[in-house]
Symmetry: C2
Subunit: 299 residues, 2 copies
């Protein structure tokens, strides 16, 4: 199949207990596409400023990722600055400079309107909906969101979610969106609001998948070294969607496997800053970690 | 096989977001034994005061638990008062009244000196060691501990751990004891201090088992209703040890299954105050949840 991702391509400045990096490659569409591209064809729709390093575009292209939909607009690239505490579940946003991302009005080029899978990363739900309307009957629609949209655009988000097959969000967002503290109840409550299935991402504690037919729980791939959690959620989504696209199936067994592949992709992402670790691995490394994961969890 | 547990039998006063209970049956040996008794024969060594309700002793006996080793001593029974926040991972001890437990000097009666499995719940490591010396070559030695002993009796604990097959502790204690924030590293560091294997209990996030030959990670059984987490860790241990005792095997595959049974027993324990939920279930309920757990986690 073919995957279209709409989201951010950004420059991050990150501080973790293990180091500090300035203006490194980031953004939801970046992490997602590099992860998904291990499995299948991906195209990005995003916007960057004139200051966006050409080498980063080349890096994406070299991995077979379609960058024709990345508009280079007058102005500066979206920038995010964040700091993680020693407990890296605790993140502090130091600065968000939307720059050209402020006026992002994604347009799907004609050649991408037949994409079979659509991943709408964390952007304004009205934009997510406008993108969806430009694509001809995708086979699978997945999206992410965040606290900001849950607070400021809840009605738009809820309306849009009725069209979504897989809704991914983190545990705090799931609690906020559902009003339920218990995540199993939250998953049920979220499903009742429209999406066919929901994935609650719990960071180092794994994910919960719920489709109305039952839950699937998967621990995170256990790691000894976590350097930078930025992008883990989008890398996870890239693994899930990439695997589903590659197999061309969307049944229960395949979805479960896709969640494991997602966890594995995320486990690589957090082992270095930016997408550095993802750039250094091969499909065989992913498959090796998949086998490890089986051994780690089977009983 | 036969199991001997040494620990506390206590009266708890508990407040959770779901209610308040006064002087209900609690204590590590209580939760452990009721859980383990679903699988095999258990005897308790503990001390209670003259005020300990006879009905509680009858309750244990009725379940086939050996209570001959519960000494009724002059004075009052150990009491613990605690309050849990809405996030029930956060517990506050309001009062600890050791009473007769202060002078607990466990003596193993002759008829229990040939017990094949020994579980030394969270007590002074010097007492754990003294109990161990009174038992004739047990086939399996497991123990728990807590922050208090890690701080005040670290040397005794480390010395004792060299004799232990399975050391169970929670995530905060594992970090404290090992000095490692990462739990995979913590597990390795703990093994290097003596025990043959370690189980790190992460509450609602499951457990990590490490034996030097590799890790086993298992999520917690996902629940919609958690009323009182008191005793979950000891109930978990009861399920693990009970299952190992019943099967009579201590190989990798059996240990993995035992961890799942432990998680399932703990999942029942937290669904009501005290041991109430455990008293209402049958072995068939446990086996049903085991099948559910397989379905929830297989991929």
């Amino acid at each position: 199949m073919s995957i279209l991702v709409v989201g951010s391509v950004a420059l991050d400045s990150i501080e973790t207990p293990f180091g500090k990096r300035k203006e490194i490659l980031g953004g939801s569409a970046t992490f997602f596409s590099i992860s998904a591209a291990f499995f299948d064809k991906v195209d990005i729709i995003a916007t960057v400023g004139e200051d966006f390093p050409k080498e980063y575009l080349r890096l994406l292209k070299k991995r077979g990722i379609g960058t024709g939909g990345i508009a280079v607009n007058k102005g500066k690239t979206f920038r995010w600055e964040g700091r993680y505490e020693y407990d890296m579940n605790v993140a502090h946003t130091l600065a968000t400079r939307l720059n050209v991302f402020q006026d992002f009005a994604p347009e799907v080029p004609h050649n991408l309107r037949d994409s079979s899978i659509l991943f709408l990363a964390n952007i304004d739900p009205d934009l997510q909906d406008s993108v969806l309307k430009q694509v001809n009957k995708p086979k699978l629609i997945a999206c992410d969101s965040m606290n900001h949209w849950i607070t400021s655009k809840k009605r738009s988000l809820e309306k849009f979610l009725h069209k979504v097959d897989i809704f991914l969000l983190n545990d705090a967002e799931a609690r906020q969106f559902s009003g339920e503290s218990n995540l199993m109840k939250a998953a049920k409550a979220i499903i009742s609001k429209g999406p066919k299935s929901v994935v609650i991402k719990k960071g180092e504690h794994g994910v919960i998948y719920y489709s109305g037919n039952g839950h699937f729980v998967v621990p995170a791939y256990p790691l000894e070294n976590v350097y930078d959690p930025t992008g883990a959620g989008d890398t996870f989504a890239g693994g899930v969607i990439g695997y589903l696209s590659r197999t061309g199936k969307i049944d229960d067994a395949t979805i479960r496997k896709s969640m494991v592949y997602g966890s594995i992709m995320a486990s690589f992402a957090v082992e270095d800053f930016s997408v550095n670790r993802l750039l250094g691995i091969k499909l065989s490394d992913i498959n090796k970690r998949y086998s490890d994961f089986k051994r780690l969890t089977r009983f």
